[in-house]
Symmetry: C2
Subunit: 580 residues, 2 copies
Amino acid sequence: MPQLRIALAQVNTCVGDIAGNSTLVRDWTRRAVQDGAHVVAFPEMTLSGYPLEDLTQRRSFAAANREALERLAADLREDGCGDALVVVGHLGRDDQGPRNSASLLHGGEVVATYDKHHLPNYGVFDEARNFAPGFDLPIVNFHGLDLGVVICEDIWQNGGPVTALGKVGVDLLLCVNASPYERAKDDQRVPLVTSRAREAGAPMAYVNLVGGQDELVFDGDSMVTDEQGRIVARAPQFTEHLLVADLDVEAGGHTSTTVPPEPGPIQLPAFDVRRIVLDPEPVPAYEARPLPRAEPLPDAAEVWAALVTGLRDYVHKNGAKSVTFGFSGGIDSAVSAALAVDALGPGAVHGVSMPSVYSSEHSRSDAAELARRLGCQFQVQPVAEMVDIYVRQLGLTGLAEENVQARVRGMLLMALSNQHGHLVLATGNKTELAVGYSTIYGDAVGAFAPIKDVPKSLVWELAKWRNADAEKRGEVPPIPENSITKAPSAELRPDQTDQDSLPEYDVLDVVIDGYVEGGKGYADLVSDGFDAELVERVLRMVDRAEFKRRQYPPGTKITFRAFGRDRRLPITNRWREVAP
Amino acid sequence: MPQLRIALAQVNTCVGDIAGNSTLVRDWTRRAVQDGAHVVAFPEMTLSGYPLEDLTQRRSFAAANREALERLAADLREDGCGDALVVVGHLGRDDQGPRNSASLLHGGEVVATYDKHHLPNYGVFDEARNFAPGFDLPIVNFHGLDLGVVICEDIWQNGGPVTALGKVGVDLLLCVNASPYERAKDDQRVPLVTSRAREAGAPMAYVNLVGGQDELVFDGDSMVTDEQGRIVARAPQFTEHLLVADLDVEAGGHTSTTVPPEPGPIQLPAFDVRRIVLDPEPVPAYEARPLPRAEPLPDAAEVWAALVTGLRDYVHKNGAKSVTFGFSGGIDSAVSAALAVDALGPGAVHGVSMPSVYSSEHSRSDAAELARRLGCQFQVQPVAEMVDIYVRQLGLTGLAEENVQARVRGMLLMALSNQHGHLVLATGNKTELAVGYSTIYGDAVGAFAPIKDVPKSLVWELAKWRNADAEKRGEVPPIPENSITKAPSAELRPDQTDQDSLPEYDVLDVVIDGYVEGGKGYADLVSDGFDAELVERVLRMVDRAEFKRRQYPPGTKITFRAFGRDRRLPITNRWREVAP
């Protein structure tokens, strides 16, 4: 059977950084070729970065992608990598509009391009909005084997290019991806990869992006299966990695270029199959190496790694070097601080204790202890005097007085950010944001909120896991025990605790999850056995908080179409219309 | 020829307010029936409100729509309107998912439902994301005439239901819409309506939503054309209106239910035509009334009406009664104040002058003069003392010091909002927001920014138009002349003017428009004749500002899917999972 060494380059790209992403492709291809690889595959939209949102519509950016792609093909040959077949994702554009494309580079040329067929238009994806779907299926014969390429969602939908490629026949299926991490995503992804490999009747090489991009984190987890869908090689998660796998593939000698009509409920669209013979000679026999196989991380470690990756890449890809945020002595800021130190190192983390007249002694000492354990920067900036002027001059009482404390702190952090260049982090957790236990323009101030998607009960779980993990390694547990065990409080009025205003967190988190993530309604949750009054209370809080959060955005939802909606653009984006 | 009196109910709905929207339908149908109408048509998604974004996905909301629709049919009969044919838009849902539906109510029943076929997925629209497309075409024979229904985008795309209805034959086409206002939208809308009427070979009755909904403003502008596309009746813009038109329609006696195959480049999908005979008897001959025909507003008046409508509905639909914002003495806050008083009345507008040590004498007197002319509430709250503590305690200089002034003002307005219940407005214009001449968490603070989509040069134009219009009516011009003529300044440091940092506004606005709205690149703008250095400077400012604005959102872009993207939900939304 013909042999082939394939290398899956699980790399961390940056949106808009065409030059940097091109360099990434050259560096990793060189490494792969030096390691004897015949085929090197990169993730979806490697050159452009992913996701691009409205940047897909900018013609000058699409033109820059095309130019960079052709230059890259030439550069790879210059680099001595011209004999390899290199698969690179990029933004395409033709008379049908923007395309989510993957091109095959060989011998200094772009030899074929596949345009993604299935364009996801749900959840975090807006691809049907941003791209035109492709109907061409190039199949490249390389070293005697027929290789087909598909992109990400193409394997998540039935009746698409994988079915078509299975019908005309390929020997190896390359699937390039930008598949975001979710908790327990493996439970969905692995069965899918294996079933599509079986459907194609060919081994599948699945390469995924790694790293953080704004709201998304990509976990990598690239893998290779055999034609029966069994995983034979696998890359580690949350790290750049070159997964090199030797395959013994049975060559089918396929010649058909017609997809037979599909009976049954799902109609197969008309694909245009084009067979390209690049090199019919099998590679000379060589001794195959054992297949590397990393184990996926257990749950808490996986979530921690995702949060660290998301925070690190948000800060670094946006050109910041340091972060600042409030050290309140509570669990949320402690976990945020531990994540920040793991992501950026202690020298880049600037904690600020901002006591008011209602701050307890333990909140100050726990904050100082946190800084001591982490070895990070720390300062104390009292806010009582600023708060007092507002309260006196405007005659503030109740909630207005509570909010002023949180807002004075937010302004203080922004002033330090302006003066010293730190990025401000917000330390709110998902539960308190969901129910509105948070002050807009106050503790919600920040460019990035590391635990914004972590419910309170998981915050505690992660804190305990991180401390235990440190102890296992003989290190100082980063989070003070007192921050984990004490009753949570916003400390905006005397003797306040969270449970004055909120149900117990263990129940609250389950109800929020059912309502927000699960799409359950009031009746569903009551029939799940939750107390009707509690459900009503939580749902009202969530609706109210969502309204308030949207009502007071950065202030001015500037709409970049006349009386229309704001443009959707990535935050992290190195593309510049004018070259620097 | 059979006669028919049709009434187009150009109403102002509210998202999520199923009960209120149902009442609207009952009230306006009664009015129409009392006026002798046989057919009453309401806008797209009348019952649910529009646009719904992710609210489309909530099953309990779809179920509530269905229930309300059936109750409405029964209530209309109770109201004595059972003989009329009433067309009402609503959220539908079946095994294919959510639908953008319009149902025909008659005799206490839902007699037919049309699901929108063409789902726009660009600009402000996400319908392909939110709805499943329909392929059924009900044609209802009512008083001997065959009536077809289509929804909004169905007339904006070629090869859809209008083509199909034209082929099988209808006598009258009802088009129900939620078509947002844009400047000079008429230039697109009118030719479209007329050409589709000709394509269908039938008169078209086009009814559009009116009112503000979050970022969108709907202008109404409902109209009726004859079968040759000539406008024969037209409603006024930006106001609720019942457009009643008597038609003499030639009945075709159509029986075909098969759409013949379409040759040519655009393939017509297979529509399922269903003919329903409700009442084959023509109405007894009656004397037709003259057709009413409003004139569209001239440009400045149209923009002013759109801004007033957007602001008024945002405030009222969200349950607020009053607004507060800074009166700086400059043109932006003066125009915002005039809009707010036109929208809400002087008693609901609370201006606050917040002088710092850098504020000029004229900025204070112009602010006071503005309040005097408008007759609105006004107070002076100096900020020097608060600013001073921040500057001293943190040792702030330069931009950090400038920003603290703007932020102290933002916090002050939020404190007044919390204490007194006013909604905070931000008074920034589109130009300064586009180039980042604005402080995040400072002057950008606010729930709604009335002139966020108005470039600076248009702000001046509107100010002059509004003053001239007042003079024409013998009223006091609301905007002090000095606010219009003086050089604009942020007054955050001594002797500052906008043009220290920005190009002249007349050039700047054209470059921004080309880059942001027109999708032009650097090379395009330079070849348009703009100075290369200036284009580069502006493009860099816009990119930087867009990044900053996204980087510091309300603080915490809470993602309501695990590590995914925030839910998209309307801000203004009266739907409650738990009944009040």
